[in-house]
Amino acid sequence: MTAELYCRGITKHLGGRPILQSLDLDVKAGEVVSLLGASGSGKTTLLRCIAGLIEPDSGSIVIDGKTVFGGAQPVAAEKRRIGMVFQDYALWPHMTVAGNLAFALQSQNLSASEIHTRVEHALELARLVPLRHRHPSELSGGQQQRVAIARCIAARPSLMLFDEPLSNLDAALREDMRTEMMDLVRHEGLTVVYVTHDQSEAMAVSDRIAVMRDGILAQFAPPQTLYDRPANAFVAGFIGGFSALPGCVTAHHFTPDGTTHALPVSETSDGQGFLVLRPEDARSPESHPDLCLSGRVAARAYQGRCWRLTLEIGTTRIKIDWPSGVELGQELSFSLPPDRRLIVNH
């Protein structure tokens, strides 16, 4: 039931603009991979290429060992055995919940008893049995989303695609639904490609995350690797609200732009670079007296457990978490743990 997915050299132009640029993506069977990126980064286009809803200009796509694009003849979307949960769920409004599930199966020419069994199983799994006779307009956003997932589960696709499935839900419901949705997916052991622009959502659901920028993969790695070792300033900026402080590396020392104070780093190559600063990494100057930076407090916001301070270091603003609220305009020194002095390129 679960399938591997290989995308090789996928290129796609829309309106003369390159959207995907020779992109490679491998997803193992049973793995959940997120495509994370800002709008216009090409993540939805890639998802639709995999689904067969649009055709890439070049490249190849292999699902479950079968070349669905790039071979002799592209395999039509309806023949790829892919399930997709759309951003707007795409529930057929004139059919009941059970009707929505059954229609998807009737197209596969299954026997009536097989359809019945599958519909019952999916309804039960998604806790939709009491809602089976309702129409989509009579359901809440969360319930509609469960129907969309149950519809895919009933169809037993080899690969399941999610196109920002939580973006229509309010913040309070989003986390509950995310957990519930991923429980269902993991329970069925499905291979999943999940599109989102929300890094915390990607971190929570994925085995690996593909960070996309301008149609290429900026980094493709497990969440922890992205967090610990972002490949460049863009990924660092996209993940966890990190700040990327520009400066110059000379003889194992990093000097932020617009300052003269140098911070010892382990980087060997000299030249321009960015120091990745995670808000939670800031320590008192006494903790690591040799590894200090300082800046002027430009803004502050109380966040319960700590204060989020915006500091101006040279010409750049960075964010750190600090135990006390410091007066605006005051100069503040902080230190970084030795293992948190990561220098990356642009």
């Binding site: 689904a51 067969g52 809803l53 039509a76 979307a77 309806e78 023949k79 790829r80 055995r81 892919i82 399930g83 997709m84 759309f86 951003q87 707007d88 769920y89 795409a90 057929w92 409004p93 004139h94 059919m95 009941t96 059970a98 009707g99 599930l101 059954a102 229609f103 998807a104 199966l105 197209s107 596969q108 009536a112 359809i115 019945h116 519909v119 019952e120 089976r132 006779h133 309702r134 129409h135 989509p136 307009s137 009579e138 519809r151 169809a155």
Partner: protein
Amino acid sequence: MASTAFVYLVFFLLIGLPLVLVLMQVIFADVFDPTQPNLHISFGPLSRIFIVPRVYSAILHSVELASLVGVLATLLGGAFALIVQRCDIPLRKTVGVIPWIAFLTPAYLKTVAWVLLMSPGGYLSEFGLLPPLTGSLFFAFPGLALIHTLGLFPFATFIIGTALRGLGSEMEDAARLGGVPLWRVWLRINLPLLAPALALSFIAIFAQVLSDFGLASTIARMSNFNVLTYEIYAATSSYPIDFPLAGTQSLVLLLLVTLAVLVDRLLRRKDDLKLISGRSRPSRDYRLGHWRWLITGLALLVALLALFLPIGAVIIRALTRTLSDGMALHNFTLANIIEASSLHSPAFAALLNSLRYAGLGAIISCAAAVLLALQLEGPGKFMRSSVMSLALASVAIPGIVFGFGYILMWNRLPIFRDSLFPHYGDSSLLITGYVGVAVPYALIVIMAAIGQLAPSLNESAKLFGAGTFRRVMRITLPLIALSILTAFMLNFIHIMFELPVSQMLIPRTESPAPIYILRLLNYDKDGLACALSLISMLIAGGASLVLWLAFRWFAARNGAATNGKWISTPSLAGDVQ
């Protein structure tokens, strides 16, 4: 590519080619000469615009009438919109319904009614309400302007009403809090902001008056106030037949309408930007004090003139023997109604013909529009929007020009003239003409409905393995069923009361009801004409109601869409049908 070519071919054959043939004559005057057709270029027909008094007077009359009615109907419609939306008048809801009913009443019925009311010996003079001179004044420019204004003011109410709703009262409130008096607020804030809607309303009504054939062939003709549409008809039907002249006049008419449509398109774009705001709150009402009674009285007077008087006149005339005996008791009879509804009378035969034409025309045009719209689902947005623009432009083409184009195409072009179906002179060509006029309307309604379906509804069905036919039958068609029905009813009623194409393509036998009614009027059988009009209206309305109820019943059983809502029904065993 094949689907694109198919869509263009249908448009070309139904609309494009007839138009091209009409316009060709402006340059190639002898192209359809029955004895010696040739392609000699001649500017003779074009020069007649400036030389022949009857031609340039028709152009001037048309523009003059359309301009005056554009202004008057915009003022009246705008006033209606304002009092219904922003004033604390009594009977507000009733007054709000008046433009809708006026809009839905067939135009030529109102024309017939005004003839009955205003002619010497008509109902108004019978009651002494009509001073002797008024009648002769009425059957002239002022009367035409009045009837057009009373018939077309609902357009202005709808357009300006929408703009007023979008405007809200926040900008007005801000100015008034700054101490600006109300009259100045209207002069400097509201009116400039409503200007695009006012202009739009003027243009829409201007184009409607230019294209009108009903009044042109009745009151305008009776008043010797010649207008373009009737002149085109006259040039093609009275001896000596003058096709090049009809072509030239059609060109002028098309240019005027196209100009109006172009300005309309431009303004709509501007209007959208300016007035659509999701932030506007419902506006406050103006308190009119004692004036509100006078204002309501005036609104009801308009209702009396636009609705009750004409419909009342038609009903009374249908139930009486002669117009001259007026409403004397002995004059009342059911003879007209009985004749118009007895199975073997020619009047009832004409009604049956119209019902058949309208049914067939509406079915074919809707089926063609559904097929075209589905063909357009695949190609890109550009194709869809260009076909939509083509359809919108086609709607504005005056029916009389269409009819003329069909005559040229099916009577003069050998390849079409010799075809067995549709054939010039019989009902098959009339139905084809109706379809040509109706397809753009149906296409607009159905394409708009398909455009509102989220693409993901079809895409998800596709991913679940549903093929094209299954997707169309199970997803698209059920979801646009209401729009197909709307398009059908719109076209059914439109064809039932269509006049210009009916007049131009009238079959040798089996005349449609509108033409038969006109003929009855010409032979002074206006009682029977009114009875037939009333019965036509009742049957067309009744048939639409029956269809609507049948659809609701069917939808309730199958969970399809009605009124944009989804009917919830207990479904069968797990819906695993």
